[in-house]
Point group: C2
């Protein structure tokens, strides 16, 4: 019998160094909201999403290619930008055939870390593209590291719940000796049928909803397969894989 | 109404820097097995436990004070030592009125980190001394950081379950905006009545039981209040608080 590939979950960017990425598919997970926004933009026909680590870089690159510079800092549209990190902003009318240059607090930073650590393959995952992610991971046959972006290196539950959603669907195809994955799977099993009701318990929910009133964003970000594309990182861009 | 103190859970030593320890009681948690062993030794009459970060230091200090040098590396009695990290080794016959000089892979390292970060107060916690820990935290009225030692910086479930056990008992006395604590509380609620049955799912269980046959240790380490003392760190030593 062929040996199954391994699967691990990294609960924070500050733990990513513990895992061997060089032979793995790394799934960047930033449920609220970077990776949900990436799925939404690509699903609605964006040519690609270029993740960058600073606002000036987002502005510069978007100017050169006539793209849309967007991003957030601390949950709000970043100073100097006109567009933020809401998946609902990127409707087909607005984003089709355009390039989105995106900078965010946690997700784009984690992606850069995965690059620096020579990840074999990088994709991004969120509930809106859950099935596409699972299908890709099974088809690839490689080891998997589910990388939760968290919030400024703190553990968060929404990214962990997404890791659990993936694990619940694909665990039979992988060898999993990883307490983080076991926990994520257990937490997801408990809350999968009441995600929206559970959301108000999450730290990040209060950051977003109480401060900025983004309840519609939250709902989108917690709904399976409403933007079911595979964002695959290649040559500095996330494209439909 | 007086403002309640805060409570946070740090899921790995690699995340401890995210929390302000300077005004907090830090609970060092290394369920398998350092903090269970510390509770056991103090409960059985050890004068104190001196945690150190290396085997040579353990040998040197124990010689100078006629103490017991003990410790483990990778789950086994460390090379050069006669005594390990099993709570069952430290019976009253053996340890009463003696000083235990202990070095372990994860727990003693985390304690040193808490010291370096100027923790206000440091105690150690484990299921065998759960009630003593909870009573102390409520009485102190200070902020709390539950510090899980994990395994070489990886998240582990047994330390998280102990954090959950503490939270389940004292949450009403604290302000908790912390997804790690919410998760720990949820996981503990799910498994509190079947800890021994659940243990074989844990990564560390296999490290201990399959490699070294320490099932009796595991049972002791998962049993509430069988060594119900409060190990309080003061002047380089853990003493009964």
């Amino acid at each position: 019998m062929q040996k199954k590939p391994t699967l691990h979950t990294s609960l924070s960017p500050a733990l990513l160094h513990l895992y061997d990425l060089s032979n793995s598919v790394v799934v960047i997970i930033d449920v609220f909201r970077a990776t949900s926004t990436i799925a939404s933009a690509l699903y609605n026909g964006a040519k690609c999403v270029i993740p960058v680590d600073s606002v000036p870089k987002a502005i510069e690159i978007s100017r050169n290619i006539d793209g849309i510079a967007a991003g957030e800092r601390d949950g709000m549209i970043a100073e100097g930008l006109q567009h933020g990190n809401s998946p609902l902003e990127y409707t087909r009318d607005f984003i089709e055939n355009k390039t989105l240059v995106l900078t965010t607090t946690n997700g784009t930073r984690l992606l850069q870390m995965a690059l620096d650590k020579n990840a074999d393959t990088i994709i991004s995952g969120s509930f809106p593209n859950l099935s596409a992610v699972c299908d890709f991971l099974i088809a690839s046959g490689k080891n998997v590291v589910l990388g939760c972006a968290g919030w400024k290196d703190r553990f968060n539950l929404e990214d962990t719940l997404f890791a659990g959603a993936v694990i619940s669907r694909i665990s039979k195809q992988f060898t999993i000796h990883c307490d983080s994955s076991l926990m994520a799977d257990t937490m997801y099993a408990k809350y999968k049928n009441k995600m929206i009701e559970y959301a108000p318990k999450l730290t990040h929910y209060h950051r977003l909803v109480e401060r900025f009133g983004l309840i519609e964003d939250i709902k989108f970000c917690l709904t399976n397969d409403v933007a079911n594309v595979l964002p695959l990182y290649t040559d500095g861009k996330l494209v439909r894989g």
